[in-house]
Amino acid sequence: MDEFQEILQDFLVESFELVEKLDEDLVELENNPEDLELLNGIFRVAHTVKGASSFLNFDVLTHLTHHMEDVLNKARHGELIITPDVMDVVLESIDLMKALLETIRDTSTDAGIDVSACVVKLDKITGGNGEVDTPIAVAPVVEEISEPEVVEENEDEIDYDNMSPDDLEAEIEKLLQERQAEDKAKREAKIAAGEDVLAAPPEPDAEPAPKAEPEPTPPPTPKPAPAPVATAPAAKKEDPKAAAPTKRAPAAVEQTIRVDVKRLDHLMNLIGELVLAKNRLIKINDDVEERYEGEEFLEELNQVVSIVSLVTTDLQIAVMKTRMLPIGKVFNKFPRMIRDLSRELNKKIDLELGGEDTELDKSIVEEIGDPLVHIIRNSCDHGVEMPEERLAKGKNETGTIGLKAYNEGNQIVIQIDDDGKGLDVNMLKNKSLEKGIITEKEADNMSEKEAFGLIFKPGFSTAAAVTNVSGRGVGMDVVKTNIEKLNGIIDIDSELGVGTSMKLKIPLTLAIIQALLVGVQEEHYAIPLASVLETVRISKDEIYTVEGRSVMRLRDEVLSLVHIGDIFEVERILDVSEHAYVVVLGLGTSKLGLIVDTLVGQEEIVIKSLGDYLKGIEGVAGATIRGDGGVTLIVDVVALMSMARNVKSTALSNVGSESTVSMEKNKASDYKVMIVDDSKTDRTIMRKALESMGITLVEASDGQEALNVLKSGEHNFDAMLVDIEMPRMDGYTLATEIKKYNKYKNLPLIAVTSRTGKSDRMRGVESGMVEYITKPYSADYLSSVVQRNVNFKAEFL
């Protein structure tokens, strides 16, 4: 059972790979009908699939591929010319073959798809020497065709549909035995093969039979039923041309292994952890360096850290490479698509592929297919003109669509060019106005690039009529969302009458990205660097408000701004400085300035999901773990752009000046004063001096503790008594820290110290102390100073 499943899996994987390649080859074959090597290659695919499927008892598939093989075999022997009409039938049969393979993958049987109509057509081609009448009505029984060559075969394949399962089994058994006997006879000439058919070594039989052996009847030649399973892996990597009989090398050694994607994913996850650990190590190294400057062991530590970080980076790249697939895998299906489209639209279109070897992460390769289909369809339908029109314009009758991929920095660029009519900016604007996608005003202010971007708006379609191909107004919208999902950017260039060029810029991998870390208040956020165009430092008066939205002038552009704090509901506790940074985000054709308080730096981050519980939070793409072990949220630039539209402008205006909410005091104990001193004795002295007033006292033993108490927001203090010399955080630092908070701007800080120097006093004032009491002091003096500063009501005395 298991063995069967295993073989089945291998068969499916292999078949899908073969079929993918097939499409491209067939279209090329149509252009070069004489290319024998190409024909041989295609024939071999049909043959391999047939052989394997007959071994696995997929009768319908065998039946179909067998007839395909007949046609191809004839073509191969020059008895049949591949005309577009013949090709249509062959392509149809290949589509059926794909459908069958998919059914097999899903259900493990190949029942449920009717291939008879196609088989009739195929037979017609072999029978009628290449002339195809208009498709015949579906004939339930295919077999009675006068051609002598096929008759014998037909008797074998006859009436599968009508047979009882048992008969069928018997029939197949018989067939298989016949075939095996045939095979054996052939093999005997060579080395004696083992009894076990499965273990049979790759047989040359899988290759097309040498032409020297004149065989008018197709069936006997290509029936080494079991062998192809074993040959498969070797055959799949080879280019059909390279595998042409003349060049066939003696059994090349297998240089690749198949690995389950899950294992690679796991490996990638582990690397992610390693990258995080590396970041952490670097941070610790920095800290240690600071603390033990000049120590000898530092150099050694430095070396180790840099080696670890170097190797980690290399390892990461190496593992990323294992997940890379050539983009040719996606490109393969386009020649066929272009062919079908051009026939359907009665246009003449050539496709030029380039850079098929460019490699991309597997997950991206999987996602990129659909957008490309839409873009290319669009180019065929709207871009390239009808042949007559092209001739009238003095262009070549045949339009060209170029599809190429290349590396640019750590991005992959996929470029789609057409030499069609180009995008008409005015037409785009008018159309959008008509459909209410933009307003008159927006249209007037729109740059050319922004106007091109309109084609990605949902509900937009420039096609006058909805065709089969495009114009439903969904396609390009999907393109944009899909590309943005991959953190990619779309860049359109177009010249009216000359053509359009679209560039999709996509990051190499999705799991680990470069990010810009920004700070707002006490929080940090990571912005994918791919979306960051530039950063600018501005002062507050450079921000203007237009129609309730903040904007700024950036060179010759007007950039709309949004404060990151407004997007992420950040509480404004810290005082904002006069200056701020604007991170200019670019996505597709739109731009947005994001105001942040600080720029922290660039870091390599590993994207982690927030999990099911917190999924779908707008504006957050995920989280990452930083060098210090903390979690930092990753900004979802796409969502942020749309959220920015609904955010009211608060930009840098200091909201919340209601901070110093001094609550109504009804009794003496409503007053709260904090005593910060590292000496227990001093605290007790102060407490004794103030207790008589009946106010509430809270003690802290150093600056750090005082700050924590303050931050906790548990108490609402009216004043603080601060000693200057304290461990961990001294009084000056504490005062400076406290004054950073809007809320405590007006909190009276009273220095209580034995330092009497003038410069000490000056420092005290600079750091925001309002009073300066020198030790020793009398209890009455202290109490009166406190009363004055907290506006103590006389009636409580």
Partner: protein, 164 residues
């Protein structure tokens, strides 16, 4: 061939199910306090119990979701049970703990005021949730009776369910 496989799978499935039937009738729970009340959850639903450390705020969530924290490389949501149960928030003390609970693939950390003890209860000592608590929506799984007190047993899957 696949029929045969199905039969085998079915048979194995039956065997497994019958194995489940003979569960022992002791339930092991971990008790903890939130506010004045003592609650408990099945010990098997607990991945670990850790001392509090820093977390990162997440925007656009109800106030009882404090944010996310890093549990050895995994990013996990942190939920304040005090806030979730409608109690006033209180500052963390030395006894505050994060209980990391797991149900299937869902994991989250919960802030509790203090742990009490591991409890072994006979199934017969656990009563249903009071009738006043409405239907399937309740997060109360049952009420465990001990000699001197009763303990509310919570449904872990309900706790881990996103309800906003």
């Amino acid at each position: 061939m696949s029929d045969k496989l199905k039969q085998i799978i079915n048979k194995q499935g039956d065997q497994q199910n019958s194995g489940h039937d003979q569960l022992d009738d002791i339930v092991q729970l971990v008790g903890f306090v939130i506010g004045e009340e003592e609650y408990a959850i099945p010990i098997l639903a607990i991945q670990e119990i850790i001392k509090p450390f820093t977390w990162t705020r997440v925007p656009q969530v109800p106030s009882y979701v404090l944010g996310v924290f890093n549990l050895r490389g995994a990013v996990i949501p942190l939920i304040d049970l005090r806030a979730k149960f409608g109690l006033k928030t209180k500052n963390q003390s030395d006894e505050t703990r994060f209980i990391v609970m797991r149900h299937g693939d869902d994991v989250a950390g919960f802030v509790i005021d203090r742990l009490t003890m591991a409890i072994r209860l006979k199934k017969t000592d656990i009563g249903p949730a009071p009738d006043t608590v409405n239907g399937d929506d309740t997060i109360i799984d049952g009420v465990g009776k001990q000699e001197d007190k009763i303990i509310t047993i919570l449904k872990v899957n309900k706790l881990l369910e996103r309800d906003f």
